[in-house]
Symmetry: C2
Subunit: 335 residues, 2 copies
């Protein structure tokens, strides 16, 4: 690989001058600039980002870290795409870690990314008191939290109005006559789900429907839990007429359970999922869902991160995006 030195030799200037050309330093004369550019072209020189990063921390050679809990979840895929979209346009590189709700793994990624001198980090914290992330913030490494914030410390956050999103879903179900609505939640140690439960309760309250603890189910936040919980729900004596499921994966698990028992959606049971998926419309019947703008969240987070990099002293922001209730065919009026 060619380097500064070889370019310098080729165009008979010092390496400092070549470096200046690369960085568009206005102090270099037009003539030498052209000469150097020609050499760069000829030798196919590309700056070594590792050396750049080692030398200067100041977001010259930008590297972003992105740590997400579950890359199998289409919502996080959207987030990744959003971050990546912004990164691509601004010549950042992105380093991704997928920790699968494993705190040890998250910790390891945090360490690795720090060792890689990342300029900033976007992360969906495993819970609100994540010490590892807190430490980064304290070290003044730019951090933006996505999907969930941190409770102990002030930090930039991009999230969604979970309470309102859940409210809208339940409100809709109530408005079409449902009264026994089961909630398949993710793990309540994740703040997101606490907020969604609050929305559920508020809607019930608005309609004067009593809250029934027995209709709330929470275990892990994965496919299997969705399947198992739905099975339990479907066997309840006084079976709920509708299910509100707390995320993507839980919804899919629930659908498997429902189909396996040949229970008809929406005639025999209605279902709304939190999280829309690109192919929700391909399901049979097409699924009604609370859509989170994952792509936009990712983009916004990357943008905020960049601003924070440029201006570390800036006041911390808390961006809350709206969800959208998308009604398709998986819910129907209760006669």
């Amino acid at each position: 690989m060619s380097n500064l030195k070889s370019v310098a030799k080729h165009s008979k200037v010092s390496i400092a001058t070549v470096s200046r050309v690369i960085n568009n330093d206005p102090k270099v004369s037009k003539a030498t600039m052209l000469k150097v550019m020609a050499s760069i072209e000829a030798l196919e020189y590309k700056p070594n980002r590792v050396a750049q990063r080692l030398r200067s921390t100041n977001n010259k050679t930008k590297l972003l870290g992105l740590i997400i809990p579950d890359i199998q979840n289409p919502f996080f895929v959207d987030v990744v795409r959003g971050v990546e979209d912004y990164a691509y346009q601004n010549n950042f590189a992105v380093m991704i870690g997928n920790f699968g709700q494993d705190e040890k793994k998250e910790k390891l990624y945090l360490d690795i990314l720090q060792s890689e001198n990342i300029d900033g980090l976007i992360v969906a914290p495993i819970h609100g008191k994540d010490k590892g992330i807190e430490n980064l913030v304290k070290k003044n490494i730019p951090v933006v939290c996505i999907d969930r914030g941190l409770t102990e410390i002030d930090v930039d956050v991009v999230k969604v109005d979970n309470e309102q999103g859940a409210f809208n879903a339940i409100d809709h179900l109530l408005s079409i006559g449902h009264r026994r609505i089961a909630f398949i939640s993710g793990n309540f140690k994740i703040p997101t789900y606490i907020e969604r439960l609050a929305g559920y309760k508020r809607a019930l309250n608005d309609y004067g429907v009593a809250f029934d603890e027995k209709l709330i189910f929470s275990r892990d936040t994965d496919y299997k839990s969705g399947f198992e919980i739905a099975n339990k729900i479907l066997e309840l004596k006084d079976r709920p007429t509708a299910i509100f499921s707390g995320n993507n994966l839980l919804t899919l698990g629930a659908l498997e359970a429902i189909h396996a028992k040949s229970i008809k959606i929406p005639e025999e049971i209605s279902i709304i999922g939190f999280d829309d998926m690109p192919w929700s419309i391909s399901l049979n019947p097409p699924l009604s869902a609370v859509r989170q703008p994952g792509f936009d969240m990712g983009r916004k987070a990357a943008e905020m991160l960049y601003e924070r990099m440029l201006n570390p002293a800036k006041k911390k922001e808390n961006i809350i995006l709206k969800t959208e209730l998308i009604l398709r065919k998986s819910t129907t009026r209760l006669e």
Copy 2:
């Protein structure tokens, strides 16, 4: 952040000794080793991977590049997970680029990853004559191609037996009486799809069924194409009794089209998709599919890459994994 120097000062040895401790050099005495370890602990020292990578190319601080065409495709998500799984176990970091079938973007990622001094690259080439990747191979940077190979040059490849996979699907459809089977293919500039077509033809041939060009459809490799092509197919006068769709996204698009027209699967039309998805069983009816072992492919590719890093002169390998035909409820015997 603490560094070698601060650790050296803290334990009153030279930085060379500290470095030796980090790298488990046997030449350092037990006593100093313990002393240095204590300092490392006390100062929470973590080696700076950037400096390590700059200094030594020889896979000490391992960084893998991973370039995939489409992170929205669950198959590639599985590949990512496989690569990441191996990387995690072996303390590599992974840098991911998602180029969305855009050759310019792929090129950019190739450049960035090179500038990041990656120790090796796993990539799904956009087509068989990808010059950018060829160049890397010629520069002796370890490269493993995944899902598709390169035609002009010898390179390590991990792929799947596409021909046989398609054959199995079509063979099954033929065996249960179907004769007019539409193939919704991805773009034929991607070698994968040429191979799948070959399997389609071989099965037909085995059954003595004439090949009908009019049943083969190819445009882009995305959801929209699947939807549009399926619409066209469903409106054919002599409508096919079965559809074989060439990948994940095409299948989902096709399903939307079928459901929108309220055509019953499998009573009115059978469908088999190439690529299984974690939630294929949640579809209604559960989808029959040709399963590719994406996770295993990713793991295997990472493993091969590591071997190539350790032994650059090793003979190039071409690993072909088997697909598996998973029969669920989206196909039925033609009466």
